[in-house]
Symmetry: D2
């Protein structure tokens, strides 16, 4: 049984805390959050105790720490936990600043540091990746990723989000690297705030079509939108030498209604809490492997740097309306 | 170039006349219909002449006759055309009376007489049959046929239709024999007039679930409804030893709309004129093979008798609430 | 926190034990099974203790009992548990003998006795039922249930199963009653052992098409097969006055492969452990409602009697090749 | 009845000739082709005569001319036919040279000149356009066009094709303008010859992802590939303010096979002759409207110039790896 602590009692912290509690091999011992009522509520519902970060990191019984606090604290808390000998499960992104994030390489680069890009743990995308890597369809040549949210976040969130490329597209940059099996060398981003001018006034975009190219000649298209109008659109198409492998959306049930206007499905699963519920559980299972020492992190510090580097290049491409090289 | 005549200038006569006109190997020379304005209109639109039946059958240039007149004349006109040495393309059903129809065996049994059950000529069902017969899925064991009309016919039609089993299910009885590759030996029909009590008052049913069994042990379920509410439902599932072969419905276009309530297809093709347009064209191509002597009728007199015999047994099963043997 | 005991440490007992253990409101205290190693293994993996039935029923801390033992013990253990004041979660079927089962009415008829027909708890079928009952599609008129297993059970199992109607179709009889909102008044079953003659030699069938009719005129078709060749086929179509509501199958992932032979889905979920995993969890949630006294059993003793009564009538229909009335 | 001539007896000339022959309002009088055997074969199969271009254009009975000859003759033959007072049905593209094509504006700009971009006449894309324009889904914001051929053309064809952008993508540029209801102002093309290095050695590409932007801020992504491995992939997704409208592929039949590996569709329609058969027929119907004076060309000279201008800008973008403005 592994004792762990969670830092951050917000929406994503609650998910990870619940999955830790339900896992037979894990005990959630501490909840750390400066907002005491939130910490207490989460502690009560999971049977954990509220603790300070120092107390949690100083407890030798604690084997691992989940960093689910605000983005600007990810690096600091992760480095402190690593320094205290704990395994770390860190929410994405690594940080909003590439240069700052790079400075952590000495501590986090080869540590037991798991950067939790949840989509890689979705069973459907895992099966897609497995079938791409198997070569059954020949070599992957081009990739299309569609990632549209149901509706935009509040404008206050937009203002502190780091921009759509670092906040939202960063998932797709990571997926692209994972599925392509290769890092991009250049990026072009055509972006706009066609959905909500207020997002544009806040200096951000809400819609983007992005093209990545790799050294070997593969091309990836990413489509992003902050508002689909029809739920959470999460599709991928992998065009290979012999054919196409694709992942479709998930519906809220398999009921269909046929009427005079045709066949109507049930709504798409609306957002990430539903769509990636299994992925979050699988992340916890992977973290337990880290705690047990039976696996190295499937996603680590350098994956986080790469995703940030692409996001910064995409932002520059958008700002300059030009193709921008990416490197690390 | 084969000269032919069409008897009957109604809805189905017009379809066959148009397909004959469009076929490069056929000239539609005569239209025969006692209702002169209808005959003249069809003759004008196809470049044919209006003629009496005697004139058409007496013209040695005429090689074939399409019998698309009212059901009670099918047998008589077909026999006269055969006697005159013409090939016959006869609409279904053979007749509404099994005994009367049986009396024509001497003339029609081995003649160049093509009974036009259109569904056998649909490319999708032909492909289904081809794949069943290929044995790729192992032996066919059970069969489900769904055949639901969009909306009931006028009650005046119902009264003279011969009853749903002979008017509508007869198509499905023929499809069952064709796909099973075997004749049924018994039938059970559970039928009702749940859609429209007026149909019940007219002595007919509007909804039926029918089970056919064959000597070798195959079982077929037919579902019939005079009203679907969602267009023309024409589906078949063939359960074989190694898996399932199925044919789905056809939509009016491939456009899909995704909104907050899910994904909405376009409406189903609404009725037989759309759904079986290709089948009607293929029937004409088959009739040309008969005219050219390069093929024997794919569906003949005895198929018509079988379909009628099953329909009568189904009606008896419904009337007596018992399983009824079928034979020919 | 409710303490419960599970009787039976076989396949289905393990599922319910795991779901009880994972439920935050339940503690699995005892495992009861005469086969000691099985009991011990399940007790070890869930943190429960091995106990005799008497000890479990005599413990005042135990609020509920899961009866997951062999079918012939369901009635006896359930009655003893009810007599001891426990709530009961009983696996289907109630028993293999209708007369014997009827004799338990005095004890079980109005007790806190939950008969666990799992399919009613599947979220997709629940949504189907909800939409049927809402009347959005008009009145339900006819119902098609397809329920095909991937592969036949061992012949030794077949011999003690009570026959396909009581062992397998019993689920569909219960679904039919639930969705129709009405009890059947007559049944016709066309059945055969076309899949495996050994099943026929054992006095059972492996394939059936069954028609149920209700007093108000609704008709239901059930298709059963012990072997699909393509996984677990669990589909329902509800034909209503204004259109069709249907539930499709579930695939093992959403990946599709498009190649020169067309588009290939992933396999269907193979069998009930996968297909109904959510339903089993929902059953446990319902049982907790019983333990807390916040709900009456959604499925009770009389539902079990009805399903058995239809199964016996279906067997008689098959044996006599006639339509058989059903009553209770 | 309108008499017309076809120039060019190759693959596409044969299609238009057959559709003209089958149209009840058109007589194909002449076939013009310098390759006499081809001209004679087409004339024989359609009942037309072989003629020189001068004879065809000089015949006052001829109302219209189909220009289906080699691309480098499109402009010249079209201008001569217009000068002779004929309506023109011209195959795409207008020409391979933008400057040369622009020089024809005085003659063709406002003439009865129909440039036959076939995809605009496909019933599915017409329905898509109708639903976009209806505004039911709110304003169109971004557009995805997938257009992948089943297999690359012979290298000899590639060498004279004018390059993939003018030969293949030109269809998609026209579709983009039609569906966006707006002209693009800039283009970025990421292209490669990943499929066949020989295509790259010939100075062309076989794979491209292209982003178009319009003045109002709409963004369009086009995906092109000379080889899909799974047939003719022709899909469009229109992301609108309230949801998504999309057109899928067409299969060669509706048969599905369910086996242990999942559900297998029939192959996609393989190439344009099948996929766009209805569109070619609809083009002929539109040409008859021109001949009758009841419509102006739905696609004219300036549409051809726009498509060429975008294609040249895309080629420049590929060559310079930069975003290139488009204008006319």
């Amino acid at each position: 049984m592994h004792n762990i602590a969670v830092i951050g009692a917000g929406r994503i912290g609650k998910i990870h805390a619940a999955n830790a509690t339900a896992h037979p091999g894990v005990t959630l011992k501490y909840v750390v959050d400066p907002i005491t009522p939130a910490a207490e509520e989460l502690a009560n519902s999971t049977g954990a105790e509220v603790a300070s970060l120092d107390l949690a990191l100083g407890d030798p019984e604690i084997g691992g720490v989940i960093v689910a606090s605000s983005t600007d604290t990810h690096l600091d808390f992760s480095m402190r936990a690593i320094a205290a000998g704990k395994a770390v499960f860190c929410e994405k992104p690594l940080d909003l600043g590439l240069e700052k994030a790079k400075s952590a390489e000495g501590v986090l680069g080869d540590a037991r540091f798991f950067l939790a890009f949840n989509r890689r743990f979705d069973p459907n995308f895992q099966r897609l990746n497995q079938r791409i890597q198997s070569g059954e369809m020949g070599a992957l040549e081009t990739l299309h990723i569609i990632s549209h949210d149901p509706a935009p976040p509040p404008i206050e969130y937009v203002k502190v989000s780091g921009g759509m490329f670092k906040d939202m597209t960063i998932h797709d940059f990571d997926m692209a690297r994972w599925l392509l099996g290769e890092d991009p060398t250049e990026v072009y981003a055509a972006a706009t705030s066609i959905i909500d001018p207020a997002i544009g006034e806040a200096g951000d975009v809400d819609t983007a079509k992005i093209i990545l190219r790799t050294a070997s000649g593969k091309i990836c298209v990413i489509s992003n939108s902050r508002r689909s109008g029809y739920g959470y659109d999460q599709r991928i198409e992998a065009f290979c030498a012999k054919g196409l492998l694709r992942v479709g959306n998930k519906l809220s049930s398999t009921v269909e209604a046929w009427g005079e206007n045709g066949s109507q499905s049930e709504p798409l699963q609306n957002f990430f809490l539903d769509r990636y519920a299994e992925a979050y559980r699988a992340e916890m299972m992977h973290f337990v492997e880290l705690l047990e020492g039976t696996a190295r992190p499937q996603i680590g510090y350098r994956d986080g740097i790469w995703a940030l580097a692409i996001a910064e290049a995409a932002a520059e491409s958008h700002a300059t309306s030009s193709v921008v090289p990416v490197s690390y």
